[in-house]
């Protein structure tokens, strides 16, 4: 049974301030009515016996709502039905007539609350006793201290038990003894099963202890209405956020405010679409560690994360939530040189894991650092670097991570390359249907790295897709579709690939790993994926028209000739190389290449990482 029904309630204050007659005579237009809508379309039902907590920041309309339920404010529109129950509003500075005695005020308040004189007379002694006022009860209220004032007010409402009690911020009145007593009394009162109570309080403690349901008002609207724990939690998060907005860029504030949460893990990728290691790690954690809290840092507002599950919490970089997360995560994983920036001063118990994308990549990673000095500084905060080979370990050592611990456990993204054949087949079908590649067609993946504009032009002028398809068909049989995946920075700079027949632009495909698995042949220039491609045992070619220049400008760890791949400097070269491809020789070379680099990839990288996390968490 409902005790209170509120339907689409609107209450506004017309700030027609009381004004002087002169003003209203001389200002011809109707008095400047600034309407302030305190309550905007609120609806809820309160069942008999419910104890509702009304929360919200200052000025959110709580008191207005309470007063309108008490019948003091009129609604602009909407309905409040209190079903004929008598309502009492208990709030600070209760309405006493100061010249009258406490006794008279007890009777007057009681009469206004709808009790008869006899009923009040009956309870009178109890009220006086509870209020602890003694003989002061016969003195005018104006002689009371503010504590006595509120004690009396509380006692009246508490002893004259109304059907509906509206309590506005008065659960802490009087001295400590009285506070305790009033709190106990309030508990007793509101626990009566027929009594309906609405409490406005800023004390979450009070709300948590007393209320069965919580309604959260913000700017005159209901934001949440539900059980106490979950609504309070939402409210607190919001309030923290509000507080945070003020301390937005204050790193020290956040550093000092938050504590490290043992099972919180922060994933901090360079760029959402090209962060395969972190993406695969994330999937693995979500699947295998359900009680961890995973926070994913977005570096741009509009970044789309297709992993989103409700367990994954997204935060935008450099927002308060971000700072809260980065200082409270036990584990931080990033995948770039200076992602967890040098000016983040982490707590000692926080652990940073770094997974560089390089793998067996040939390019000198030092060139990626915008500021080598800052990179070196941030590198000192890193606890573990993830490597897949002594070669990569040397890359770490030779650049910024000279003294960090290095875990040679392989790259999370490469686990998929060691997956069961059925899994790979599913991925193949997925790519095939995504790009509507005709059944029976084979796929070649061409994914060059990023170059200065001139180099790109050069490459794209010389590569002849028609020739490529033809020669691939001749050498490997079947029809070939060519999946071109330009570097993300080259977006839109290569319109021709859209037009060439049998060529697909895969710049938007989320995971190059899946393209690699789907492809039958791989072609690149210096991009590191081709080395991971070796694990799949499929033919690969290097097509690098600008090799000399690139080597000169960019720096390579080892000469291109050391790779198992044939090197083409022009379309013609590539054609020749493909025709001359010897399967056995290539497999032999690639085996010895991987052995030479002592590569440890085995498909268990994620698992090993989690084991390391767990060790840190304990």
């Amino acid at each position: 049974m409902n005790a209170i029904q509120v339907r689409d309630l609107h209450i506004s204050y017309k700030t027609i301030k009381a004004q002087s007659i002169r003003k209203s005579l001389f200002s011809l237009k109707k008095s400047s009515t600034d309407r302030y809508e305190a309550v905007r379309g609120v609806s809820f039902d309160v069942k008999k016996g419910e104890i509702i907590g009304l929360i919200g920041k200052n000025g959110s309309g709580k008191s207005t709502l309470l007063r309108s339920i008490a019948g003091i404010f009129s609604a602009d529109s909407g309905v409040i039905d209190t079903m004929g129950n008598n309502v009492s509003l208990l709030s600070i500075g209760v309405g006493f007539q100061n010249e009258l005695t406490g006794k008279d005020n007890i009777f007057l308040s009681g009469l206004l609350m709808g009790f008869s004189k006899e009923q009040i007379q009956e309870k009178y002694d109890e009220i006086v006793r509870f209020s602890e006022l003694g003989n002061f009860i016969n003195a005018p209220v104006k002689t009371y201290s503010s504590g006595m004032h509120s004690k009396l007010a509380f006692s009246i409402t508490a002893i004259l038990e109304a059907d509906i009690m509206l309590i506005d911020e008065v659960l802490s009145v009087g001295d400590r003894k009285f506070k305790k007593k009033s709190y106990a009394k309030m508990r007793e009162l509101i626990s009566h099963e027929d009594r309906t109570v609405i409490i406005v309080s800023h004390s979450s403690d009070t709300i948590r202890k007393l209320c069965t349901r919580v309604i959260w008002l913000n700017d005159g609207k209901i934001v949440a209405d539900g059980d106490t724990a979950s609504t309070l939690k939402k409210y607190h998060e919001y309030m923290d956020y509000q507080e945070a907005l003020m301390a937005k860029s204050d790193k020290a504030y956040w550093y000092n405010k938050v504590k490290v949460e043992n099972n919180r893990i922060l994933l901090y990728p360079t760029y959402a679409k090209y962060c395969d290691d972190i993406r695969y790690l994330c999937k693995y954690i979500l699947k295998h560690c359900p009680d961890w809290e995973v926070v994913w840092v977005k570096r741009r507002e509009n970044e789309k994360i297709d992993l989103v599950s409700d367990k994954l919490k997204l935060v935008l970089e450099k927002t308060p939530e971000f700072y809260r997360a980065i200082y409270s995560a036990k584990i931080i994983v990033d995948d770039g040189i200076n992602i967890t920036r040098e000016d983040i001063k982490k707590h000692a118990e926080q652990k940073i894991y770094k997974i560089l994308k390089g793998s067996l990549g040939i390019k000198d990673i030092r060139k990626y650092a915008a500021s080598p000095r800052k990179a070196a500084k941030s590198a000192r905060m890193v606890n573990y670097c993830i490597s897949n080979s002594p070669f990569e370990t040397d890359v770490y050592r030779g650049s910024f991570w000279k003294e960090n611990d290095i875990l040679e456990i392989g790259h999370p993204r490469n686990d998929i390359l060691f997956a069961e054949e059925e899994v790979k087949e599913q991925i193949r079908q997925k790519v095939r249907s995504h790009y509507k590649i005709p059944e029976g067609n084979k796929m070649a993946l061409y994914a060059p790295t990023y170059r200065e504009k001139t180099m790109l032009d050069h490459e794209r002028e010389t590569l002849d897709f028609e020739m490529l398809r033809k020669v691939l068909s001749e050498r490997f049989g079947g029809n070939f579709s060519i999946i071109v995946r330009p570097h993300r920075k080259d977006r839109g700079k290569w319109p021709e690939i859209e037009k060439a027949p049998g060529v697909i632009n895969a710049i938007n495909y989320p995971e190059i790993m899946e393209l690699m698995i789907a492809a039958d042949v791989g072609i690149t220039d210096y991009s590191s994926w081709i080395f991971d491609f070796l694990f799949l045992g499929k033919p690969g070619f290097i097509y690098a028209p600008d090799a000399e220049r690139y080597q000169e400008q960019r720096g390579l760890y080892y000469p291109l000739e050391e790779t198992p791949f044939s090197i083409a400097r022009s379309s013609r070269d590539l054609e020749t190389n493909i025709r001359a491809f010897q399967e056995d020789e290539f497999q032999e070379k690639s085996k010895s290449f991987l052995e030479n680099k002592h590569c440890v990839e085995s498909g268990r990288s994620c698992q090993s990482l989690i084991e390391s996390f767990l060790k840190e968490m304990n």
Binding site: K14, G93, N98
Partner: protein, 260 residues
């Protein structure tokens, strides 16, 4: 209007208790207690007696009783109206905590003033034999006159209460206006005998208080019959003011708290 009478019933005990408590508080806070309710008009009577008899040398027969009647009824009217202007502001703490029909507050004030006037009129009744005022069957006429005066006062109070919420300085204007009406109501002089015709008739017809005070004197002192046509007309005006006033208050009363 139905709500109005329901409220009267519902808040009857509140009004009685509040009026009583206020009177008690007033008594408790002064030395001479309730004597002031008599002393106050008595002293003012002496002031006006001095002005009229000594300064202007123009008295009326049974002058003390004459002034007394005027003063008492005027005090009832002017105090009720004056309090109504500030009624909402002075009861802010109550009305922002609990709903109360605002005309109930007016009625409480009027009940207090009515009671004080009744006490003061006892003095009139005591003085009448002392001054050998001839008794007549006209005296009971004061009952309908008082009734009409009450209704008329209530109507004025309602309107003034509403306006007083929105105009902070209305009370100044009301004070001045009441003073003007005071002099036009013939409190310490007789309008029929001192004001030349046709102004005397105009004044009595236009100013209900003047007419009603004159009516009381006619009943108590001069053994004359009151002009019931005009009294009825004033009643009609009083009822009209009350209806309009109560309606206005009902419509706006829950906005008062927002304004003050």
């Amino acid at each position: 209007m139905k709500k109005f009478f329901n409220d009267l019933k519902q808040y009857k005990s509140y009004m009685l208790y509040a009026a009583k408590a206020n009177l008690k508080a007033e008594v408790a806070s002064s030395y001479l207690n309730w004597l002031w309710w008599i002393l106050d008009p008595l002293l003012f009577m002496l002031v006006y007696a001095f002005v009229a008899l000594i300064v202007f040398g123009k008295g009326e027969p049974f002058f003390p009783i004459f002034v007394f009647i005027g003063l008492n009824s005027w005090t009832f009217f002017s105090k009720s109206v004056n309090r109504s202007v500030k009624m909402i502001r002075s009861h802010k703490s109550t009305i922002s905590k609990v709903y109360i029909p605002k005309y109930v507050l007016i009625l409480v004030a009027m009940m207090e003033n009515l009671f004080k006037m009744a006490v003061a009129f006892i003095l009139v009744l005591i003085m009448m034999p002392m001054y050998k005022v001839p008794l007549s069957w006209c005296i009971p006429q004061i009952i309908p006159v008082f009734l009409v005066m009450t209704v008329f006062t209530f109507g004025c109070c309602c309107l003034v209460l509403h306006a007083g919420v929105y105009f902070a300085d209305l009370s100044n204007i009301v004070t001045v206006f009441l003073r003007l009406v005071f002099y036009m109501s013939g409190i310490f002089y007789s309008i029929p005998s001192r004001v030349p015709e046709p102004y005397a008739t105009y004044l009595l017809c236009i100013n209900p208080m003047a007419f009603m005070i004159n009516g009381l004197r006619q009943s108590l002192i001069y053994s004359q019959i009151v002009d019931y046509r005009i009294l009825l007309a004033i009643l009609a005006v009083g009822v009209l003011l009350s209806v309009v006033g109560v309606r206005t208050i009902m419509k706006h009363e829950n906005n008062y708290v927002k304004v003050i």
